[in-house]
Symmetry: C2
Subunit: 228 residues, 2 copies
Amino acid sequence: MLTQVPIRSLAAIQSRKPTSDRAAPVRDPLEVFDLMGSPMTYGANEEIYGEDEPAEFVYKVVSGAVRTYKTLTDGRRQIGAFYLPGDIFGLDVGKQHRFCAEAIGKAVVRIVRRSAVVSLAERDCEAARELWTFTARELYRVQEHMLLLVKSAQQRVACFLLEMSERLADANTVELPMSRQDIADYLGLTIETVSRTMSQLVSESAIDLPSSRHIVLRNRGALRHLNA
Amino acid sequence: MLTQVPIRSLAAIQSRKPTSDRAAPVRDPLEVFDLMGSPMTYGANEEIYGEDEPAEFVYKVVSGAVRTYKTLTDGRRQIGAFYLPGDIFGLDVGKQHRFCAEAIGKAVVRIVRRSAVVSLAERDCEAARELWTFTARELYRVQEHMLLLVKSAQQRVACFLLEMSERLADANTVELPMSRQDIADYLGLTIETVSRTMSQLVSESAIDLPSSRHIVLRNRGALRHLNA
DNA sequence: CGGCGGCTTGATCGGTCTCAAGTACGGTGG
DNA sequence: CCACCGTACTTGAGACCGATCAAGCCGCCG
């Protein structure tokens, strides 16, 4: 559930919206985040929106990281995605969010009204195309995630590390923002299996593990080769 | 790879396109299938398009059923979706198809040029929104599929049967168009596990199995309850 | 220094896969 | 019409991978 805190800043967004709309029409619907949208700060594990909540806002990560997840009927948690700085999330097409969103650590996000984005697309075909492309990228991402879930534990962990290293783009060292439990719930494994598999990758000299959240990719080829 | 056969009918589509565009502008980009698009027939297991092939056409199932799949690096096959009469497939946003498509049995599909659909969206915001909504539904479907793959074998099979019964909408009896192998590759299980699980559902009186492709849902509640 | 949460490691259990027969069904040819 | 065959499906026995249960370890912060 949303705390009281965001309300003030959202009012600010709304008051600024008409101004920027009239002044210089926004063609790229996702560009609005840079023009409008006040930064909002969330604490660790704070909920940004809940499952089945009305999808009133769209979000862009400024700093920190966000996870979206669903709680399964048996109590497990399936993480749908991790969103890192620059990523946009919460843009469900239906009236309600299909997943819940939480800040992983302390996180700053920009917020805009969904209706502002959608109504823009009704007037501007280019903007509508942009929204389509965005959703298509999400579709691509979920397809990859689906394909991940039928692989072996080693393959899943290797894929995850490669994905993170590409998205965080810190050469060969990755500073993971999320816990082992988060990784496990993303990969559809248990925390023990994730931990064991990482240890195994260390013993195979594929990675180094100076600390649990700090990973050095020692042999990308070997990681990629696991998907043989 | 496409056979030579479709080329003739596609020429017919193209020649008819400008006419129908001028006469009565098509607002719904997916409606074009009913106005244009010649029926094409494929034999059992015939490829409709290949993985990584240029996405030149969009398809709508008239009769029969279609599967899309990817061959994994270890040789297994992961089915991404089953498309039944009325369903549209092949509308990838990128330049290439991400999955391969095959007719399951004998199947009839209508074909239109992707460029016709896309260019329509560039002129008509309503059409662009329609495309967005279509991709969003695909996204929803893949998310559900992803969630399916982290469940137990029983849950996966039960979900599959419920999904098929809703889509085929034949009250409580389902005539499956696909083989056990197809089901297994869709659910991320082996053919033996699918078979065993169905036998188990029979012994629990959740379903009847007059023949291997003919399924009677005897106790929907029990099937749903498996996702407890 | 003590305690707590996050992580790792070990031992055992269980569900699904693998390998291997056996069975039912549909089509084909005599 | 029946005998035969091939394919699809079912069933069984054992192996294996990841889950579960249970300690221990490490780093952090009071």
